[in-house]
């Protein structure tokens, strides 16, 4: 579904991604972990070209997307993204946040988008917030709305960039629950996170990225319990207190 070959990305002189090759298949829940500054977020952002790779290829459904003449906007409609800081549109109500993209991209008419939004709001347990503005929501509620917004485009893949890192601890659970339900429903997901419990429970595969390379990969439980690489061990010993 997504294939990445030999991905390199530099910011000025700083090489953030140093040759990543990876394949993500339909129905997988790939959890990406690693120290901060390791390049895991950049890797994720290269998948929908929020960052343009300097070298290497990104394929979606067999089509190379990081080359001239590709309609990036159309491809991005296949990939939803959920951000650490939610990035809800503060000038729009919850309902408008969700319906904006499906309507403006011509995917749905207003009526369809509204009924889709109602269905998604129910799914994330926030039906009563349809008319509210983002500023009146808690962090956990904002992130659930952000997930609903991404789902409104009916994407094939959802990318999560540290979705719970900006949340108060007591709100992490409600967001993870939504994500777990999504995973169970068969959604293909790539999740950059520090939530090892989530990785163990719903991840089908885990990548440990450090210094721009995938150092270790495997079934989450195995990697987390028996890391082979020294750097993985060092990282996990700090994270799993």
């Amino acid at each position: 579904m997504i294939k990445v070959e030999n991905l390199y990305k530099r910011f000025d002189d700083n090489e953030v991604l140093s040759g990543i090759t990876e394949e993500i298949n339909e129905g997988e829940v790939v959890v990406v972990i690693g120290p901060s500054g390791s390049g895991k977020s950049t890797f994720l952002r290269c998948l929908n070209l929020l960052e343009t790779p300097d070298e290497g290829e990104v394929y979606i459904d067999g089509e190379q997307i990081n080359q001239k003449g590709v309609d990036v906007d159309r491809l991005r409609q296949k990939m939803g993204m959920v951000f650490q800081h939610f990035n809800l549109f503060p000038h729009l109500t919850v309902l408008e946040n969700i319906t904006l993209a499906p309507v403006r991209t011509g995917r749905m008419n207003m009526e369809q988008a509204r009924s889709k939004a109602a269905e998604l709001l129910e799914k994330v347990g926030l039906s009563e917030k349809a008319g509210a503005y983002p500023a009146s929501l808690s962090g956990g509620q904002k992130q659930r709305i952000a997930i609903a917004r991404a789902l409104a485009m009916e994407p094939e893949i959802l990318l999560f960039d540290e979705p719970t890192s900006a949340l108060d601890p007591e709100m992490v659970g409600e967001v993870l629950d939504v994500m777990k339900n999504l995973a169970k429903s068969g959604m293909t997901m790539v999740v950059v996170t520090h939530e090892m419990g989530f990785a163990r429970e719903v991840g089908t595969r885990l990548l440990f990225i450090d210094e721009g390379k995938v150092l270790e990969r495997g079934i989450p439980d195995e990697v987390l319990s028996h890391p082979k690489q020294e750097r993985t061990q060092a990282f996990l010993s700090k994270v799993l207190v």
Binding site: D73, R76, M79, F89, A101, A135, M153
Partner: protein, 228 residues
């Protein structure tokens, strides 16, 4: 004659005799006409120049930069006279429209900086969220960035509007009878300086005070949709 009798006599000669107040009234009309059209043009030009300055295309950047440089680097009187006597020399449009175009071109340079700053003040995450949903750059700008920027730049735009109204006091240079020119005319006709000039100042002051109140009300209205 006593002091007050003197004042009322001067007042009569300056404003009432020969219906001179009508001159000032029509001057107010000219000032308002020119200012309104100029603000409108200034916002359109300003938005376009801001887009040029924000664009990734070098050529557009250059256009925006040269425009802003030239306008900011020359006096508005000079610009007005060039537009009127050179650019529109052979075109037979109403004077006030040509003047408004000149002020719009001038204001556009300042407005573009206000708009540019307003757009840059919106968090990058907003653009990323829009683009990641599959919206085009244009749609993201139109539906996500601009509506938020408008709120932020509103006070600065109000300021620019006020500055512009006062700037129009130079339209007498191309033969338009605005408030300033009317005051000046009365001064020449009556050999009085104090009353006509202070009268002119008071009219400008009241006009701008009124505008400030209206802008303040509208800003409150804009901010009402914010739930904090």
């Amino acid at each position: 004659m006593g002091f007050w009798a003197d004042v009322s006599d001067t007042f009569y000669r300056c404003f009432l005799n020969e219906d001179r107040y009508k001159l000032l009234l029509s001057g107010i009309g000219v000032t308002i006409k020119v200012s309104l059209l100029a603000v409108f043009l200034g916002m359109i030009i300003g938005f376009l120049i801001a887009l040029c300055n924000l664009s990734k295309k070098r050529s557009l950047n250059t256009i925006g930069k040269v425009y802003t440089d030239v306008i900011r680097g020359t006096p508005s009187v000079t610009q007005l006279m060039i537009i009127y006597f050179v650019v529109f020399a052979t075109i037979n449009w109403s004077k006030w429209i040509i003047a408004a175009i000149a002020f719009g071109i001038n204001s556009g340079a300042y407005v573009s900086e206000i708009i540019r700053a307003g757009i840059l003040s919106i968090d990058r995450g907003q653009t990323e969220a829009g683009r990641s949903l599959g919206l085009t750059a244009k749609q993201t700008m139109l539906y996500i960035i601009v509506p938020q920027a408008v709120k932020n730049i509103f006070p600065a735009m109000g300021n620019e509007f006020i500055t512009l109204i006062k700037e129009t006091a130079i339209v007498g240079y191309v033969g338009l009878m605005d408030i300033q020119k009317a005051g000046d005319f009365i001064k020449s006709a009556t050999y009085e300086a104090f009353m006509p000039l202070v009268g002119t100042a008071v009219i400008y002051f009241l006009l701008i005070k009124l505008l400030t109140i209206l802008l303040g009300r509208y800003e409150k209205h804009l901010r009402r949709s914010e739930v904090r």
